[in-house]
Symmetry: C2
C-alpha cells in the first residue's frame, strides 16, 4: 500500500515527517511512503538517517502551504504545494492514501476539490480519536464544519459508526449526541432536531451524552458540529497539558514531592501516554472519496508514524467502501429523512 | 447581609446545605442565612450540629423542585418550593441575595420570572469561575442560553468584565471570544459577528481564544454561548476527574508507584484543590436584578459555603449596580450597535 505524505506539513517538518515515515516503515512491512515536498530539504533529512532498504521515495513539490493561509488562497495560488501534489498522487492512483500535518482547513478544501465526496455525503467530517478511562471514543466532527444542519450531524453519526466498527472492531458502537443534558428535549435547536433523526435511524443511538461523561466512556462515537467538536478537542488538550504542568509544579515545590516523583515517574509516563494525542496520530477526513488523514500541526515523529498507520488501516479495512455502501443504499431507497432538507 | 439559601436544592441536601451555611457563618461575621425548605428536615439537620449563637433562621416551604423537572412545570406547580420561596424573600427585600444548588434551568426561569432583568439586558447568563495554570478565568455563558445572537454574547462580555473587575480586582480584564482559531475570520456565524461587535466596543478585547489556551490563562473573561459554555465546563470537569482516576489507577498498579504515592500525596491534594469546582462554589446569574447564585448539583458543604461567599461578595461590592449603570448608559445614549437587532 502506497501512502503519500505531505513532508512539509506541520510545525517541525520536514524533520518530523521524514523521521515518522522511517519509523512507520520499520514497523509495517506492507506500506511504502512517498515523501512529497522540497527535494533538497527532504534529501538532507533522509541523509541524516538510516533508511537503506526501506520503500521510501521523494516527489518534488516547489511550494508549501502556510499554517495561517486561507483555503481559497491556497487553492488558487499553491497548485504545486506539497499538500496539493500529495493529494494529486491519490487522485491519479499513484498513492492509496494521503497524510498531512499541515493547515487542516486547506487539507479539507483541497481534498474536497481534488478528490470529491462519497456520493450521498453532504459534508466530510474529521473523526478524532480520544482517550477515556477504559479505552477510547471517536469525536466527529472535530473541526471541519463550523455551521451545521441536523442532516450533517446525522451523516457524521453514520460515518463515525462505520469507522468505529471497522477500525476498532466494535460490533454495535454506541452513538451519543454531545449535549448539555441527558433528557431528549435538552440542547440547542441543532441537537434537538438531530436527536429526532438519530432516534429514528438504524444506529445504536444512546441519546444525549454530556461533556462530563464522554471521558468515562459512555459512548463509542460522540457526534457534534465542527465548532463544538474543535473546542471540545482543544479544551481537552489544553486542560490535560495544564494539569500535567500543575502537577509538576506542585511536585517541584515540595521536597517530599520531589522524592515521591522519583517513584512516581513510571506511573506518570504511562498516564501521559494514554492522554497524549500523538498516540492516536491522525484523524481521517471521512466522506472524502479516498483516505485522507489530518495530523496535528504540532505532530512529533511518533504522531506522523501513527497517522501513517491510521491511513494504512483505513485503506486495508475498506472503511470508505463501507461508508460508500451505506450511503449508496440510502440514496437508492431515497426514503430516509436524512436527505430531506 | 442576609442570604436566602435553598436548603433543599442539590443532590445531598439538606445535610450539605445546612452544614455549608454553618461553615460560612463561622468564617464570615457579616452575613446571616435564611434556610428555606422543609422545616422538619432542616431542624433535624441543625440539631445534629452546633450552631448556637449563629445568625441562622428557617423559612418553611412545602415543596421541592426535582432535578429533572422542566422550568415551565416548576413555575406553574411549585409555587411553594424551597427555591421559589427563597427567591421571593429577595423580591420582598427580606433577603439581599439567593443561593441554590438545585435544578439550574428552574433557578434561571424562576429568578427571571420573579425578580426580572436589569434594564437593557436581553439575556441573563451564568458566569462560572475556572482555574488556570496561574490563576482563574470567568466563563460566560456557562449554560443559561443555548441559542444566542451576537448581541447576547456582546452583553455577556460586558457583564463578565464588570464581574472580573469588581470581584477579582482586575483593572482591565482581557476579554476573549471562545473560538477555533486566532484569526478574526475564524469561527462560526455567531462568533464572526460577535467578533465585530467586541472589536468596536470599549472592552479590552483580545480576540478569539482557543480551547487549548484558556487554561494557560490567556483571557480573564471567556465569552461563548451557553451551549458551548456548558459543554466546555462539563468536559473540563469530566476530564479532570478522569485524569485523577487514571493517575490513581497507574499508581495502584505499581509497587514503586504506591510507595511514591505516600510522598506524593500532599502535592496531589494541592493540585486537586486548584482544579476542584467546589473551591469556587457558585456561579452568579448575571443580568438578574438581584444576586442569584447557582451552585453545582453535586455541591458539598464546602461548595455551599463558597457559594454563600460569592453571594456576599457580589452584594457588598455592588457588582449589579455597576452592570446596571453600564447598560443604563448604553440605553440612554441609544447609540451602541449592540442593541440593534
Amino acid at each position: 500500500m502506497r501512502i503519500a505524505l505531505d513532508a512539509m506539513g506541520g510545525d517541525y517538518a520536514p524533520a518530523t515527517t521524514v523521521e515518522g515515515a522511517i519509523e512507520a516503515l520499520l514497523e509495517n512491512k506492507d506500506i511504502s511512503v512517498i515523501l512529497v515536498g522540497d527535494e533538497g530539504e527532504i534529501s538532507l533529512e533522509l541523509k541524516r538517517r538510516n533508511y537503506s532498504g526501506l520503500p521510501i521515495s521523494i516527489k518534488h513539490a516547489s511550494q508549501t502551504v502556510e499554517m495561517d493561509e486561507s483555503p481559497l488562497t491556497a487553492l488558487r495560488r499553491k497548485k504545486d504545494s506539497s499538500l496539493r501534489v500529495a493529494i494529486n498522487l491519490v487522485k491519479s492512483n499513484d498513492a492509496d492514501a494521503m497524510v498531512s500535518a499541515g493547515n487542516s482547513g486547506v487539507v479539507m478544501a483541497t481534498a474536497l476539490h481534488v478528490l470529491g465526496k462519497i456520493p450521498g455525503i453532504e459534508r466530510p467530517a474529521i473523526a478524532a480519536v480520544m482517550p477515556t478511562f477504559k479505552g477510547k471514543f471517536i469525536l466527529i466532527d472535530a473541526g471541519a464544519n463550523v455551521d451545521c444542519k441536523p442532516v450533517h450531524l446525522y451523516q457524521f453519526a453514520i460515518m463515525g459508526e462505520a469507522y468505529s466498527r471497522y477500525i476498532f472492531n466494535i460490533d454495535s458502537p454506541r452513538i451519543g449526541l454531545l449535549g448539555i443534558g441527558e433528557e431528549d428535549a435538552k440542547g440547542n435547536e441543532l441537537t434537538r432536531e438531530t436527536f429526532k433523526l438519530l432516534k429514528n435511524s438504524r444506529v445504536n443511538f444512546t441519546g444525549n451524552v454530556e461533556g462530563k461523561d464522554i471521558f468515562a466512556g459512555e459512548a463509542d462515537v460522540v457526534v457534534c458540529d465542527g465548532f463544538v467538536g474543535n473546542i471540545a478537542l482543544k479544551i481537552s488538550e489544553g486542560l490535560a497539558e495544564t494539569m500535567a504542568k500543575m502537577l509538576k509544579r506542585e511536585i517541584s515545590e515540595k521536597a517530599s514531592g520531589r522524592l515521591g516523583y522519583l517513584f512516581f515517574k513510571g506511573a506518570l509516563k504511562n498516564f501521559r501516554k494514554k492522554t497524549d494525542y500523538s498516540e492516536y496520530g491522525g484523524a481521517p477526513l471521512l466522506g472524502i472519496n479516498k483516505p485522507c488523514i489530518i495530523s496535528h500541526g504540532r505532530s512529533t515523529s511518533k504522531a506522523i508514524k501513527n497517522a501513517l498507520k491510521v491511513a494504512a488501516d483505513i485503506h486495508s479495512k475498506g472503511v470508505l467502501s463501507v461508508i460508500s455502501d451505506e450511503f449508496g443504499k440510502e440514496l437508492s431507497r431515497g426514503e430516509t429523512v436524512a436527505f430531506k432538507e
